[in-house]
Structures are given as structure tokens and as C-alpha cells.
């Protein structure tokens, strides 16, 4: 560490570090209490994907995900962070199994929450069957853990967003925090355009991508309960807030979610753009939402945004 940095507190460093730009390891280091992170099956064990060599593709020693335990404000947490810069953070066999094992342990213990730092394009195409199945296993594990009283919090703000099966796992979490660049969707922009044509979705229209799938829209819809500014400290505070907020999971939560989603369809089904949705939700000058700075947006979302609390 260079000399000028040594007087900076961890919180200040976390505050000045973009979550979007940071690597998975930096995110974890700055999100957790300083020095508390312990990795399970770290890169030194070289547990690489057994499938990428079929395609002559480079492997990564951690297969693009870092899992382990640490502390958050002194309390133990399990953590998993996907590395969006390796294969788009996509789920393969080893990558997915690390997360499955972590959540299964949390279920067995029952009292230690799990934080998942999503950064993924979804299934890794080169091992599509293994990746798809890993996602199904993770979804099952998350629901079993939540049924056992475990809180599973998703943090979404990475460069690969949270797409494909990652979006479904996020939908299984107890609560989500999302930043503006943290996109959540099933089909990515390019996938929709390839399958349905540019008239359906122009993937090069970045403003369209952000307002359809981005963090602000997801927060206003109530898909995410907390909006974080794009720095690691904000995500740390969001995680702490959500851990306080999350109630028990059970049939009532699923019934409430059914009603929440059915109500969304009744109200917003005819809207053809996010701006129409925000207007229908009573936001004046909805077209200015994408430009709002984080603090103003959070104030707006707290006033008019929906919530999925106890309804997911």
C-alpha cells in the first residue's frame, strides 16, 4: 500500500471504491470487517472448470467465484462474490457448486446469513447443462435455507449485471440491494434482439437497457428494497439494513408475493416503457428519473417506490 493511503480508514476506502469497477475480491475485502474474510477452496487449490479446455478457453483458478466467511459489524456472515470479468461471471459446474455448498452449510447452521454479490450473465454456454442445473440446485438450496430461517441477501451492482438464471436466484433471495448499473433481468438485451428483432429491443440503446433492467427501475418496482450508490461502503450499509429488515419466510410470504406480482400486472400490464410505469406509479416528470443523482433518487424511491418486504 502506498504511503498516502495509510491514513485512510477502511470505510473511507470502501466509500471511494466503485462497486461496479472493483473485482470480486476487492468487493469482499471492503464489504466485510477488515481482515475478517476467510476463503473456502481458494485459487491456490486450482479447482478449475473441467470443461473449458474442450473449447480451448483459459481457466481461472477460482472459476470466477469467491466464497467464504467473514464478519459484518462483528457478526458472522457467509459470502459469495462472482467475478464478472471472467466469462461474464457465468455459472458453470464448479462455480455453481461452490455457491450451492455454501448455502447448504448456512441451512444446516440456520443462524448465519448469506450475502451473494451477483455479477453474472447467467449460464456459461460452454457448460450450459451443468450451469443450468447448478442454478436449479442453488435456487432449491436458497429456498431450503430460507425455510430454515436463514437470511439470503443479494447485492447487485457489477459490470455483468444479474441476468439469466442469476435473475431467478436473485428472485429467490430474502431481499436485494441494487445500484444504478446493477441490471436484473432474465433475457439480456442482445438475446431479445437476436430472437425478436431490433424493433422489439435495440440492445445498442443503452438508455433503454438501463431504464428497462437497471437498478432504478427495479427499486421503484419493489424488486429491490434498497438502492445503493455505486460504492462498496453503500453496499455494506445496504446489507446491514436488509439484514435488520428481513422477516421470517413461509407460506404467507409467498401468498403476499403472489398478490404483489398479480397487482403489478393489473396496474402496469399495458405500459410499454419504464417511463410509462413510473408515471403510472405517480412520479411527476418520470422522464427525469434516469438523470437523478443517488441521494435524490433514494428520497424519491422512499416516497413512491414499492417494496417486496415480507412478500418474496
Amino acid at each position: 500500500m502506498s504511503a498516502p493511503l495509510k491514513d485512510i480508514t477502511p470505510a473511507e476506502r470502501a466509500r471511494s471504491t466503485s462497486f461496479y469497477e472493483a473485482s470480486a475480491r476487492t468487493r469482499l475485502e471492503l464489504l466485510l470487517d477488515a481482515g475478517s474474510f476467510v476463503e473456502f477452496i481458494g485459487p491456490e487449490q486450482r479447482e478449475v472448470s473441467p470443461h473449458l479446455k474442450i473449447f480451448d478457453l483459459p481457466e481461472q483458478f477460482d472459476d470466477g467465484i469467491v466464497v467464504g466467511r467473514g464478519r459484518l459489524d462483528g457478526s458472522p456472515v457467509f459470502v459469495a462474490a462472482q467475478e464478472g470479468r471472467f466469462m461474464g461471471g457465468a455459472f458453470g459446474e464448479v462455480h455453481g457448486a461452490k455457491l450451492t455448498g455454501l448455502i447448504r452449510a448456512a441451512r444446516q447452521i440456520g443462524s448465519i446469513p448469506v450475502l451473494i454479490l451477483f455479477d453474472t450473465g447467467g449460464v456459461r454456454l460452454q457448460e450450459a447443462n451443468a450451469g443450468e442445473l447448478a442454478i436449479a440446485e442453488i435456487m432449491r438450496a436458497v429456498m431450503e435455507a430460507r425455510s430454515a430461517g436463514v437470511k439470503v441477501i443479494g447485492l447487485i451492482g457489477g459490470r455483468s449485471g444479474c441476468y439469466g438464471g442469476g435473475g431467478l436466484i436473485a428472485g429467490c433471495c430474502s431481499a436485494l440491494a441494487v445500484s444504478e448499473p446493477g441490471r436484473i433481468a432474465v433475457s439480456g438485451p442482445e438475446v431479445i434482439e437476436t430472437n425478436r428483432g431490433v424493433e422489439e429491443f435495440d440492445s445498442r440503446d443503452r438508455a433503454l437497457v438501463w431504464r428497462t433492467m437497471g437498478g432504478k427501475h427495479r427499486r421503484l418496482l419493489g424488486a429491490a428494497d434498497v438502492f445503493a450508490d455505486d460504492n462498496v461502503q453503500d453496499f455494506r450499509e445496504a446489507a446491514l439494513e436488509l439484514l435488520e429488515l428481513v422477516g421470517p419466510f413461509g407460506l404467507d410470504a409467498l401468498k403476499a408475493e403472489q398478490e404483489r406480482l398479480a397487482d403489478r400486472l393489473r396496474r402496469l400490464s399495458a405500459c410499454s416503457d419504464a417511463v410509462d410505469i413510473w408515471t403510472a406509479e405517480g412520479i411527476a416528470h418520470a422522464e427525469t428519473v434516469p438523470e437523478l443523482p443517488a441521494d435524490q433518487f433514494i428520497a424519491l424511491a422512499d416516497r413512491t417506490g414499492r417494496t417486496s418486504r415480507d412478500a418474496r
Binding site: A97, G101, L125, E137
Partner: protein
């Protein structure tokens, strides 16, 4: 076999399953006289927000009112790929359907998926892969990702991909590949009555524990997943 043929063969004692624009909702009578809740996606219909909300509603209404197992029939497209579905939060709707099915399974309503046609990607995750036991019918043709899309992304020719697919079940479409990975537990035969095979499965349901990774290893399709998951779990349990 058409859907009607399959339903008749599964439930000779009768069923009330309606197909409304590809969304299957209803129930059927088992040999014991007990009822089985039935839902699903037919006619290779894409699974979007409008379909998913009806399917989850059907299960939730049944919980607390009925008892007995649940059958999820699957002949779907992928998730519906549209601006509208994503705008409305398709990931939440698909996750919700999976959650409802998993919750039912964990709480006394064992779930069986029956893949009798196509399915892919998010639609498969929200239906068949969210059940305790996924059964395939001969002729089913699931494809997590289709080879033409894969060729585009990997920049490999179709021929090269087909050649690689001969040596591994890990990426190529098809029922047998998914079975080898542990995703499809068993494939039924048209040589025996489907009703007999369903009743035999119901009489001998595995416990509600996800053993798909172990199955994938036993079948030689996924050699690492179970070991990696167990090692991480053991390390994490030492955190207590």
C-alpha cells in the same frame, strides 16, 4: 403422443386439466382415488409473466385446501423474450413459480415434473427443474441453449460443436444429456402404461433432498459438482 393421449394414459380414472393458450391447469384422479394437482405449459408456449402468475396461483390455491402430489407437465419454449416481460420483472415471476413449487414440495406436496416436449433456459428452471423428481418421456427435446446460438457465441461451427458434443454431455441439448448430468431422474417408457409408471414413482418417492449432483456423478456426467459442494459445506460448517 399428444398431450391428450398423455393425460389419458397417466390418469385412466379421469382428469380435469384444461389447456388455455398453452397454460395447463387442473387436477386428476389417481388409482387410490386421491387427487393430484396438475399444472404445466403446453404447445411449446413461451413462459412469460402472464403464464407464470396463473401457474403459481393454481398451486397456492391448492395449498391448505387439497392434499396429494403435484404434477408439472412441460412442453414449453424458453422464457418469453420480450421488452414487456422484462419491464414487468419476469425474473420475479419465474422465481416465484419455482419458489411456490419448492415450498409445496418441502411441505407435504411432493412434486413431479414431466418433460414431454421442449423446454429451455428460464422456463425449465421455473418448472421441471423446480420439482423433486423430473421425469422425461421418450422424444422430449429440452435444450438449455440451442446449438445455433451457442455457435454464434463460441464462434465455432455447428459441425465443430456437434463433434465436441459426442465426447461430453455438458453443453449439448437433449434429454439423455440432461439425464447424465443428473437433471432428469428417469425416463419413462412407452412400452408400459404411463399410469403404472406414475403410480410406481408415487409409491416410492425419494425423500425431499436435492441429490441431483450425486446422481450426475454416478452417471458420469458431472464429476466435480458434488465433491466441490461438499468440500465447501464442510469448510463452512467449521465456522460454527
Amino acid at each position: 403422443m399428444t398431450l391428450d393421449d398423455i393425460l389419458t394414459a397417466l390418469f385412466p380414472d379421469g382428469h380435469e386439466v384444461r389447456n388455455d393458450k398453452g397454460v395447463l391447469l387442473g387436477s386428476a384422479t389417481l388409482r387410490s382415488g386421491d387427487s393430484m394437482l396438475v399444472l404445466g405449459v403446453a404447445d411449446r408456449t413461451a413462459l412469460g409473466v402472464d403464464e407464470a402468475i396463473r401457474l403459481s396461483d393454481h398451486v397456492l390455491r391448492s395449498i391448505g385446501r387439497d392434499s396429494g402430489p403435484i404434477l408439472v407437465l412441460v412442453d414449453s419454449d424458453s422464457q418469453r423474450m420480450s421488452k414487456r416481460d422484462e419491464l414487468l420483472g419476469l425474473n420475479e415471476f419465474l422465481a416465484h413459480l419455482a419458489k411456490v413449487l419448492i415450498h409445496a414440495d418441502l411441505n407435504g406436496r411432493p412434486t413431479i415434473g414431466l418433460l414431454y416436449g421442449h423446454s429451455a433456459a428460464g422456463a425449465l428452471l421455473a418448472t421441471g427443474l423446480a420439482t423433486r423428481v423430473l421425469v422425461g418421456l421418450p422424444g422430449a427435446d429440452p435444450a438449455v441453449m440451442d446449438l445455433p446460438s451457442m455457435a454464434k457465441v463460441t464462434k465455432l461451427s455447428m459441425e465443430a460443436l456437434e463433434e465436441k458434443a459426442k465426447s461430453t454431455p455438458v453443453f449439448a441439448p437433449g434429454l439423455s444429456n440432461l439425464a447424465q448430468m443428473g437433471a432428469v431422474h428417469m425416463t419413462w417408457s412407452h412400452a408400459a402404461p404411463l399410469a403404472d409408471q406414475l403410480e410406481a414413482l408415487l409409491a416410492d418417492m425419494p425423500v425431499a433432498r436435492d441429490g441431483r449432483d450425486a446422481l450426475g456423478k454416478a452417471r458420469g456426467g458431472r464429476l466435480k459438482a458434488v465433491e466441490i459442494a461438499e468440500r465447501v459445506r464442510d469448510l463452512a460448517l467449521q465456522a460454527r
